[in-house]
Symmetry: D2
Subunit: 342 residues, 4 copies
């Protein structure tokens, strides 16, 4: 029996992948410049107050929408499903859960979507119809099994990979993701002698995670973004990215190093709008049908990262939109720190 | 609609992964020595004329069974399914297809399996129950989300990845794999001006391929193995493997280089028993639900590999068990060469 | 005693490094485009029929001069010396050897140089005064121990590394290089049962080679270029370069793979003017004062490259300027092939 | 003119390389086990209370002597010179400087050496005669331009690279190294608004450093070792080393990350005897004859490492032999921290 879900009799594969994310930014021009010139995405089009971008390895037309707003943050998160039937089933499951969603007509790059607010306060949507990217002549790849010519510009982020959201109630949010969309719990963090689960890493198919859910450090905030990650193919690409960020005066917050959870090789920076962006490579592969979620406690030899690198305090406290995070009690602080060290 | 199958109304995820392969070898002792000391697997146990091995990153107890035999080749290929229900469904589909299989009690590392001969002549089995590897104290990994301590011995092959079989009829074999087990066609090769499909690359979930099916160069042979591949995590690991093979007098046939199909970074050697073994890294990732199979023709700028490296003739002709492959007609030869250049 | 020279009582360190090379090209515009946009050099300036370029890691202002000419080839090779006194000594040694040189005033990037024709027919020069590169504000590196900001453009070739010239008489040419300039013989190739030395690899200080000298395949040609190489820092950069060449329709002749001689990780392409250009990484390091030249014969397990990759015939025959190379006798052919497989 | 020395009219190349280091250890057996099984060196022989080891890429017989002692630390540091004449010249220079040395007969792996105590309190020796390593049959490399078969065991440290010593007076120590042995100053650190030089990086030929000299944090200690480093060829080897240290419960103090000074990619651990040991890769290459020493101040955008990773306090305070380092004044502390962040 598949051990990762109590909600489904068999593993559920109705949701396919993280399709796109909309990030708010108080400085759209600077954010677009960062994502295109330094991070290496392509600008697909602009419309109203938004710019649509894509990575060279994204299958669909666009994976990132940047929108001018008062504050940074994740405006919405788009999960693509497997088929029209899967979309119907997921909408039914959301309604059965009690979620009050609405259908929207779509946006640049995708069709009708069912938009809803998750218990964590994040706006999400599920959709099936999406526009496949068709390269113009100068973007045509040499190898036809790749959507677009490799540009090699800047970090050359290859494809959208995962998102990390904050929530007041990790268990509730991950059970929601499992029950309504079929996210599989791969690992979670329950600091020893405390009992509260403060982090959960979930994936849809073979990856270590498509969705990370960690404890919100502010007692009142809701719907905040911890980080959005694009993947690159090799660890060397992450090291190269660090040099490129360094040369372009981009603030490196954390990494390159190796996570304990997911074992991903990571590098976190802030884009000019303030959102935390990751360059990610690797991570464990989950091929077995009976993966048992790994439960981590802080007692695991005291290491927050695989090789012992400490987690900077900002990584525990800062998220978008930015709010004043009150000084935590020592116990709460330890829990939050453990939770966010992924 | 999912474009990759005409046999299923929706993508089918009943088969989970390549669970294990049994290779025949005329020199069991030498093969075991190669796979443990050079390739870096661990010997799990021996029983009768067989040795059972595992890679440090394999979830299940064993992924490779080596059996003393008169000739090299793949004795059987084990596909693990998602659940007991999925097993029932797949057996029903096999029977509906007309396959005459039989239930076997299991083997070291797995339980009851439905064993059958595929139209390509290969013995395969589907099974659900498998024994999870539990490390002894000295094999316990530092990070609990990994089955076993990383040994770093030799090539340190990380996990079983894919198998390439030969068949007289590529289309029939891939349609069988799709219809009965839900393999998804990702890429295929139909040399221009010829019309015969000579290669197909199929996967179960996000990988570029779990099963490669290429045209048998011998007009009469059946059930032959082209190669078995284990994965490593980075391209540097493949380059390092080349040095280790070189220092240990292992015959390197092809690579390291990058395939056009799958884009995998590859290295092929012969183990002492004669079977072709690959060290594989990377490959395209398929996250989209509407992947359209890529059709390759030899006219694609004439390159059999991504960077132009030519394919050695042995790669087109040699397989296990070894048979005399008659000199092909020039036309057939061109087709076979294109087919096998993956 | 230092074993590498019979000409000097002690190791001689008067010549410092390969300072610059002038390449002729029949299509200056296309060559400049290749070297800047694909290979990743910067254009420093143009003057007359020449363009001056530099790599981001070159200490001096310019390391490559491209000159419009009827035929491709190496117009001259500039060796920088250690000091004004070293320059005097080297000029004296050249004159003592019988070389008829002349002083020239200098060129963009360097001062007075003593220009001469080596016995191999190549125009060379030795010089001390050179202009150090001073980056403009937008090229200023983050780390001040690096000459210029890392651009990451294209292949991002990091610095000029070595040159491979062809000669009718390898022994004579390498003894000249040793006797007059202090090049140290590191490795040479004398195919078994033949006795003729057909390749020599020489370096100035710690590198595997700054100068490679191999047997000219044409019985009459003189002063030809086999290839010019720039270095990158890691093998991954060479693999990345292969993708970039592939996407930009640059003809890849050979590699990526690992040489036996020098152990360098290599990749050879043709620039649009026809010259063979290498992307090089690694290579053995020579720190010991008593390195004994390694003598290679073809019998070394028959491998021309470390991992067994065969050498393409063009690598044996093609050089710039291009001449018709007559069909060699089988014996001569074998020797030439062995010689050029480096 | 060569800008790196006021003591020599021309660049001096009499000292060739760091030949060997003797480390004291209070637990010889554990240290030997670490250096062989984890770090990947080979045990050459034992004699008395000492064990002699070598890396697979070392040219000479042995590069590390481990000696049972009450306290960890560097017992002596051996610099190999270029020739017998160079040895005479260096001994003369040492005597002219006022150093009181003595000739010793030699040790396993090398002949007569002139042993002396540097102004920093470290015992050093210069020597020319050394025993070249000759591999037994099972250690014979496939490629004859390499001293020994690549084992791939553990970290597989490739060759001795550099040493970092502590001194009360950085300027005095580096001027001594330059004046008597010809070490070239490549970079030094003089924290802004303070004036005291607290770090100097010096090399013999093309490397970023063979000798690092940093400020002793204890006001009274003398002759202490900060770290000894062996090199590996690629950054991936350093990342791999981190996994191997992790799996073998070796304390990782710092890294993997990239230094600002030298730009080396580093990883520091403690061997069981307590000495800090580095795995090092890369570093800038110095080919130009007129390198001007780079002067660093702490004001360089506040980064102690290239990508912003903070330096752990132990890296500033801990050295061998271990002494109680008194709490520094804030100003002295800042200086020491800057100095040691390399």
């Amino acid at each position: 029996m598949n051990k990762t879900s109590k909600f489904h009799p068999e593993p559920l594969y109705d949701v396919s992948n993280l399709g796109h994310v909309e990030l708010n930014t108080p400085d759209l021009a600077a954010s677009v410049r960062f994502f295109t010139e330094v991070y290496g995405l392509d600008l697909v089009t602009t419309q109203g107050d938004s710019a649509y971008l894509r990575a060279w390895g994204d299958h669909d037309l666009t994976s990132l929408k940047l929108t001018q707003a008062r504050q940074a943050g994740a405006a919405h998160i788009g999960w693509r499903v497997m088929s029209p039937q899967a979309l119907e089933r997921r909408v039914a499951a959301l309604k059965a859960y009690g979620v009050e969603g609405k259908w929207i007509d779509g946006d640049v790059g995708h069709g009708a979507a069912y938009s809803f607010i998750a218990p964590s306060g994040h706006r999400m949507e599920v959709y099936y119809e999406a526009e496949k990217y068709v390269p113009a002549a100068d973007k045509k790849p040499y190898l036809p099994n790749q959507p677009q010519k490799f540009s090699g510009r800047g970090v050359a982020a290859a494809r959208i990979d995962h998102i990390n959201i904050l929530t007041q109630d990790v268990v509730k949010t991950r059970e929601f993701a499992d029950q309504t969309m079929g996210f599989k719990l791969r690992e979670h963090l329950i600091p020893g002698g405390q009992g509260e689960e403060v982090g959960a890493w979930m994936s849809l198919m073979n990856k270590a995670h498509d969705l990370a859910i960690t404890k919100e450090p502010s007692p009142t905030a809701s719907g905040r973004l911890h980080h959005l990650a694009y993947a690159v193919e090799n660890r060397e690409d992450v090291l190269r990215a660090a040099d490129i960020f360094m040369e372009n005066d981009v603030h490196i917050e954390f990494g390159p190093a190796k996570h304990s959870r997911t074992q991903g090789f990571f590098l976190y920076v802030y884009e000019p709008g303030g959102n935390r962006i990751e360059v990610f490579s690797g991570g464990i592969h989950i091929f077995t049908p009976d993966w048992e979620p790994v439960t981590w406690g802080t007692e695991v030899k005291g290491r927050s990262t695989a090789w012992g690198l400490g987690v900077p305090e900002s990584f525990h406290k800062y998220a978008t939109p930015d709010v004043q995070v009150p000084e935590a009690t020592p116990a709460a602080k330890a829990a939050a720190m453990a939770a966010l060290s992924e």
